[in-house]
């Protein structure tokens, strides 16, 4: 179905409840509906038209339209349409019908809207605080426009404690995180455990919430945001950098020069390569197979070096500005990149061949962390987690951006629904990425890197963009605004949805499988360590102090 046909179908069903529809491009559908119709429309789109839920967005639109705005984004993956269902809510009655009981995947997003904007999702099945810290006063909403970005709300209460739910009958509570040896990021799971079996959990996260969206909406400007967007994640930063730029470009209907599109594609695939190799290594590390962890990271290192050569940094590429890219791929780099891909392919093949036959890893990961097709649909799971459950989605093919419509590649799927299948999918996708970069290098044409922008960007336009990050779809929503910055920018990283799938994945499993189940959706990793040296002959261990290290480096430089 095209977006026009979808619209016609919706109009036939809901008639005047649909106030306005915009089709800014063939693959976008913006639907403005009456507040009372928001739930039935979403239900129809999600269940009858079988669209995938992406995210819900709340915005304080009072300074512009005098009302609040709520949007639910859906993706028609087969029809290649990204759709947003919007409704305006009166300023004096910030309430909207919750869609969470018909679209369970909206659970977190609606609670976030309640916390951040103060729009009450009426009828929400579990309207508990999600994002705001424990001590934050009720009734104070940081993403409202009358709340300054650096404001500390009155009545912030350090002592206030979060009320956790009571565990079910017969269960013990085992806290998992925020500090846990195998958990790389601060999040808190209260696991309800019966013997060795996990029966459920409560999640309390958002401990490193940095207020990035607020900064973008009130302090930064269009071309400064990409540098911050890329710091959303230390592993798939370039994804956010590109997704943000694309969302703005889609809002203002800006065409990129083709060379810039190819370069974006290449950099995204370079990033996917390093991320997949990193994750395969980490997953092995979690299940105690450090040999492959080491080898996978060894093979990965040259990718970091070539990224550094192209962009000036091994991980933060600082690639995009609105309308283009900052770094070119020179003929020298082209040659080098080709050689590197050959070597990578040759080195990765034997690893994959060995691992896919390794009974030990298979035994440790098969049937663990199960999320099937229904779970994917209901919780909106994306990326390798969904593909490992036989859900054939990949934004690179379904919602093509950059130069992905000009390259051939296969979308890898598996049907085990478990951690093992996720290993298979991600290990195999490496070869597809290599294929994509090779085609880009062949087809890239010379030309400018940056589109000309002559005027200030138009105000009040909506832009949606989905980018397939290594760990799943990353979705950005932008409303352009005044003062050279967006009015609203909403980022939905893949982990936002995938994390919501965790309670189901770990339910009725061994407690010991918790770490790899969680690890299998790939939450981020960052670490700082000090130096330890071991004398190979005497086996004597010496831990270097900071002073000694500084001295060593200074002596080297002198």
């Amino acid at each position: 179905m095209t977006s026009r046909e979808t619209l016609a179908q919706l109009k036939a069903k809901f008639g005047p409840a649909i106030l306005r529809a915009d089709l800014p491009a063939d693959n976008r559908l913006l639907l403005y509906v009456e507040p009372f119709a928001i739930k039935p429309v979403c239900q129809y789109i999600f269940r009858d038209l079988d669209a995938r839920y992406v995210i819900s967005i709340g915005a304080d639109d009072r300074p512009f339209s005098g009302q609040f705005l709520v949007a639910h984004d859906f993706a028609f993956d087969r029809d290649r349409i990204l759709c947003s269902v919007l409704t305006h809510i009166p300023a004096d009655k910030p309430k909207v019908d919750s869609i969470s009981d018909v679209v369970p995947a909206a659970n977190w997003a609606e609670r976030e809207i309640r916390d951040m904007i103060g729009i009450e999702p009426v009828g929400h099945p579990y309207p508990k605080r999600l994002v705001l810290p424990d001590g934050w006063p009720d009734g104070s909403h940081p993403l409202r426009k009358d709340f300054a970005w650096n404001q500390v709300p009155e009545g912030f209460d350090e002592e206030r404690e979060f009320k956790f739910d009571e565990p079910p009958e017969g269960c013990m509570v085992v806290p998992f995180g925020p500090f846990h040896p195998t958990l790389d990021e601060p999040a808190h799971f209260r696991l309800y455990v019966e013997g060795e079996m996990v029966r459920g959990c409560e999640y309390r996260g958002f401990m490193v919430h940095r207020g990035i969206e607020k900064l973008a909406e009130s302090v930064l400007t269009y071309n400064e945001i990409p540098m911050m967007a890329e710091r959303i994640c230390g592993i798939c930063g370039c994804v956010h950098n590109v997704a943000y730029a694309q969302a703005v470009e889609s809002a203002i209907a800006l065409r990129l020069p083709p060379r810039a599109e190819y370069i974006r594609t290449i950099m995204l695939e370079i990033e996917r390569l390093q991320s997949h190799l990193l994750w395969v290594g980490l997953a092995c590390h979690i299940v105690g197979f450090d040999t492959l962890f080491m080898q996978s990271w060894r093979i990965r290192e040259p990718i970091m070096w070539i990224a550094e050569k192209i962009s000036g940094n091994r991980k933060t590429y600082a690639l995009c500005l609105i309308g283009g890219v900052r770094w070119d791929i020179t003929p020298d780099i082209k040659t080098e990149l080709r050689q590197l891909l050959d070597k990578l392919e040759a080195e990765w093949k034997p690893v994959v061949a060995a691992v896919l036959k390794d009974k030990n890893i298979q035994a440790r990961t098969s049937g663990v962390g199960v999320a099937d097709k229904t779970a994917c649909k209901n919780t909106g799971l994306v990326g390798p987690v969904a593909r490992a459950a036989g859900v054939d989605i990949d934004c690179r093919r379904d919602h093509p951006y950059a130069a992905y419509d000009r390259v051939d590649f296969d979308v890898i799927t598996a049907d085990g629904c478990d951690v093992w299948s996720r290993v298979v999918v991600r290990a195999t996708e490496v070869f597809e990425s290599i294929k994509i970069i090779r085609q880009c290098l062949d087809r890239m044409e010379p030309g400018p890197l940056q589109a000309d922008i002559k005027d200030e960007l138009p105000v009040g336009r909506l832009g949606l963009s989905s980018v397939e990050a290594p760990r799943g779809e990353s979705h950005h929503f932008v409303i352009t605004g005044e003062n050279n910055r967006p009015r609203r920018w909403r980022v939905r990283a893949p982990t936002y949805q995938n994390l919501q799938g965790i309670p189901a994945m770990i339910k009725d499993q061994q407690l010991a499988d918790m770490t790899i189940s969680l690890g299998s959706i790939d939450p981020c990793f960052s670490c700082t360590d000090r130096l330890e040296t071991i004398d190979l002959r005497s086996k004597a261990v010496k831990v270097w102090t900071q002073e000694e290290l500084v001295k060593m480096v200074k002596a080297r430089k002198a």
Partner: protein, 174 residues
């Protein structure tokens, strides 16, 4: 037991050999385009404040002492090494150097301060042509950032109150 795959895995390891680099005893040379700490050249700088206006991390402050003297202060604490300052500088007064070992206990080590002599312009006194409408000057004319507390002064009400940043990170101003 899958002996065969274990053997294959052993082979992968044996083939790889030792790959660890002797850092920090020895550092690998960085590539030509490496983006390290930005270095400001006072001799080339015309004080247009283009860098300060387009720095995503707000790491460059500008303070007009009087009509003729402008102070430009690069803090370097939050600098993301993105190189946007070097991009927009019309005089190529900023180079992204190859320095990357910049961790320090004394924040003054990475600070750079430029005292600039400004000649009077016929129009506003402080002009700069932005490369595109997206690189707008946020504060035209005179600028009085807060050099003492080392932070930007915003025109909007989104202005930092005194206590808020001071508690932020305890740093030794050197």
């Amino acid at each position: 037991m899958s002996v065969l795959s274990k053997l294959k895995e052993t082979l992968v390891c044996l083939k790889a050999g030792r790959v660890t680099l002797p850092y920090p005893a020895q550092a690998q040379p960085v590539p030509e385009k490496f983006r390290g700490r930005p270095i400001f050249d006072a001799a080339k700088c015309i004080g247009c404040a283009g860098c300060a206006n387009n720095c995503p991390a707000r790491e460059i402050l500008v303070f007009d002492v009087c009509q003729e003297v402008r102070i430009l202060k690069y803090l370097g604490r939050r600098c993301a090494y993105c190189g946007r300052c070097a991009d927009v500088c019309p005089e190529k007064a900023i180079t992204m150097s190859h320095e990357f070992e910049n961790a320090t206990n004394s924040i003054g080590d990475i600070l750079q301060k430029l005292d600039l002599f400004m000649s009077t312009c016929q129009r506003c006194g402080r002009c700069f042509k932005e490369p595109s409408p997206l690189e707008q000057l946020k504060l035209k004319g005179y600028r009085m950032d807060d050099l003492g507390n080392e932070r930007w002064v915003y025109r909007s009400k989104a202005f930092l109150n005194e206590e808020q940043t001071v508690d932020d990170v305890k740093i030794e101003l050197g």
